[in-house]
């Protein structure tokens, strides 16, 4: 057992340290942050023997290149990503996702994400950055948490927790793999619960489901911007009110925004409702230019879908445990 750090040779497009997010500080303006797909982060952690809230890397679009001075056990979940391992003795190996992979010392090259936008990398022992306000997640807007409060940069040292005793001669992975059965983001509509009090708001909320939208390139972890035929609505001026991950906002230009995990805590744009929690991880996989549609559902339907999704995660976690036991 020993402690070590990975050396960041190249950071990738936007790679951040995330856990399940920061809770209990929203009244002071501190958002949740955390992995945009908590289930994928939890599943990757389970594959390497970590608790579900261990810190992982969230990879966006293209992954980092990392030098490992010691062996490590890793797992990749979420979108499929080109992953290779450069071993000084045995050459280049493909690193499969959805299962634990034991790596010797060498260079882990995480390349392009093949479909979707984000993947999560867990390492046995977890990423050992300090907890700030109870979480290891990077708060990009606040500039704290994670690794120095920002995305990975070349030259960073990424500290790891207690490492298991491993000494593989070359990358080793089981033949099995486990994945969450998640519908691709553009295969079916993103479901939302419309806000409903004023007639103008009800109408605007309904309009969301009546047209085709595309993802605007200005989207990030704070909000997903949709572009399409604008929703024209005469909504009363609203004084700033709390918002949440999932909140659907309608700015004056009629182009809706879905807030994600890095959402600010209060906002002044009129709210059209909220995207249900089970569909937020699907939004995390949409790229600029991708098409999407919305579909209105009831809050009760959202609850049922949440239970189904929790059961699906429990099934996947059980499948991982079962395979590890019989390995």
């Amino acid at each position: 057992m020993s402690r070590c750090a990975w050396h960041v040779i190249a950071p990738g497009a936007l790679t951040t340290v995330q856990d399940l997010g920061r809770v209990g500080w929203r009244h002071l303006g501190v958002g949740r942050a955390g992995a945009l797909d908590p289930a994928s982060a939890a599943l990757a952690n389970r594959m390497v023997g970590n608790p579900p809230d261990a810190a992982v890397l969230e990879i966006t679009l293209t992954g980092p290149t990392l030098a490992l001075s010691q062996p490590a056990r890793i797992a990749l979940c979420g979108a499929g990503i080109d992953a290779r391992f450069d071993d000084a003795r045995t050459g280049l190996h493909t690193v499969p996702g959805g299962r634990p992979v034991d790596l010797p010392a060498g260079v882990l090259r995480l390349g392009a994400i093949r479909s979707g936008l984000r993947a999560w990398l867990a390492v046995a022992g977890g990423l050992d950055v300090p907890r700030v306000l109870g979480s290891r997640s990077t708060d990009l807007r606040g500039g704290f948490g994670g690794l120095h409060g920002q995305a990975l940069r070349s030259g960073d040292a990424l500290p790891l927790g207690q490492q298991p005793a491993l000494d593989p001669l070359e990358p080793q992975a089981p033949a099995w793999w486990v994945a969450l059965d998640t519908a691709p983001p553009n295969a079916s509509p993103i479901r939302y619960v419309p806000a409903g009090d004023l007639p103008a708001r009800i109408e605007a909320a309904r309009a969301l489901a009546t047209r085709d939208w595309r993802i605007d390139p200005r989207s990030d972890r704070q909000g997903l911007r949709c572009s399409g035929a604008p929703i024209v609505a005469t909504l009363p001026e609203q004084i700033s009110a709390p918002v949440a991950p999932g909140t659907l906002q309608l700015p004056p230009d009629g182009q809706p925004i879905v807030l994600l995990a890095d959402a600010q805590t209060v906002g002044g744009y009129p709210r059209l409702g909220h995207v249900i929690s089970v569909d937020l991880p699907r939004l995390a996989q949409l790229r600029a230019g991708d098409a999407l549609r919305f579909e209105a559902v009831t809050a009760d339907a959202a609850t049922l879908l949440r239970r189904k999704c929790d059961a699906e995660l429990a099934r996947a976690l059980f499948a991982v445990d079962d395979r590890l036991r019989h390995a």
Partner: protein
């Protein structure tokens, strides 16, 4: 699972109290909206009721409570979906809200003094604002220091206080083009409000001065200098005092 007939009461419910409404903010959050006398303006009494209810809920500390976000006329309550369900949480919250007026009157807040070096390089807009209001810079400073403000809410950035109670004669529209870089500690006016930028960020408010105090530090036990509902007064200081109180002093 879809319901194409989206009814007007899909995520709200009729309450026995006509002046508050419960709206679903997220799968794991309720928004309690208070009807202010005029919905679009900032009403201090309504805001006091929000803080009183927030204090009452925080004191009761139900096991499922995850976050509580008071704003001007609304209060968000985030709950743990593994520990309760939305209806149970709403019923409990509704019961708490029945007697908030008494709380609002009883609640006592302490006053926090914020030292400010007004004008010069630290308050780039001071002279222009004074000229626009047709008063002297000294009058502007004394009016800004005379008021007792309330932290109506914290948002925009960690630790950014939205302060109500600005002398109405000092209300000014925001800059047409926001600055790309407002220094940390900047004390500013935006519309009928005043506030303090905790961290360097873009911003469109008019800059009057700067405080040497650190508004937000995630490493502190109390990360934010100010909490929602706190009372605040500004105190004008000189360069020497600023240097003495500064974060590097």
């Amino acid at each position: 699972m879809s319901d194409s007939g989206v009814g007007p009461r899909l995520d709200t419910q009729a309450d026995t109290r006509p002046d508050i409404r419960f709206e679903r903010l997220a799968d794991d959050a309720w928004l309690i909206a208070f009807d202010a006398p005029v919905a679009s303006i900032i009403d201090p009494e309504t805001n006091a009721r929000v803080h009183a209810l927030a204090a009452r809920i925080r004191a009761a500390a139900p096991g499922w409570l995850r976050d509580l976000v008071p704003a001007y006329a609304t209060l968000a309550v985030f709950f743990d979906l593994d520990a309760t369900d939305a209806e149970t949480a709403r019923d409990w919250l509704h019961a708490q809200s029945l007697d908030d007026v008494a709380d609002a009157q009883a609640s006592a807040s302490h006053v926090i003094e914020i030292p400010v070096l007004y004008g010069g390089a630290f308050g780039e807009d001071l002279d222009a604002v004074a000229a626009e209001l047709d008063i002297t810079a000294d009058t502007l400073i004394s009016r800004h220091c005379a008021a007792l403000y309330t932290v109506a809410m914290i948002g925009f950035a960690p630790g950014f206080p939205y302060l109500s109670g600005l002398d109405p004669s000092l209300a000014l529209p925001r800059l047409a083009t926001p600055r790309t870089r407002v220094p940390a500690g900047s004390v500013a006016i935006g519309g009928a409000q005043t506030g303090i930028y905790p961290r360097e960020s873009p911003g469109g408010w008019r800059l009057l001065g700067r405080t040497p105090l650190r508004l937000f530090d995630p490493q502190r036990a109390s990360p934010s200098l100010l909490a929602p509902g706190d009372r605040v007064r500004f105190v004008a200081i000189d360069d020497d005092t600023f240097a003495r109180l500064g974060p590097d002093a």
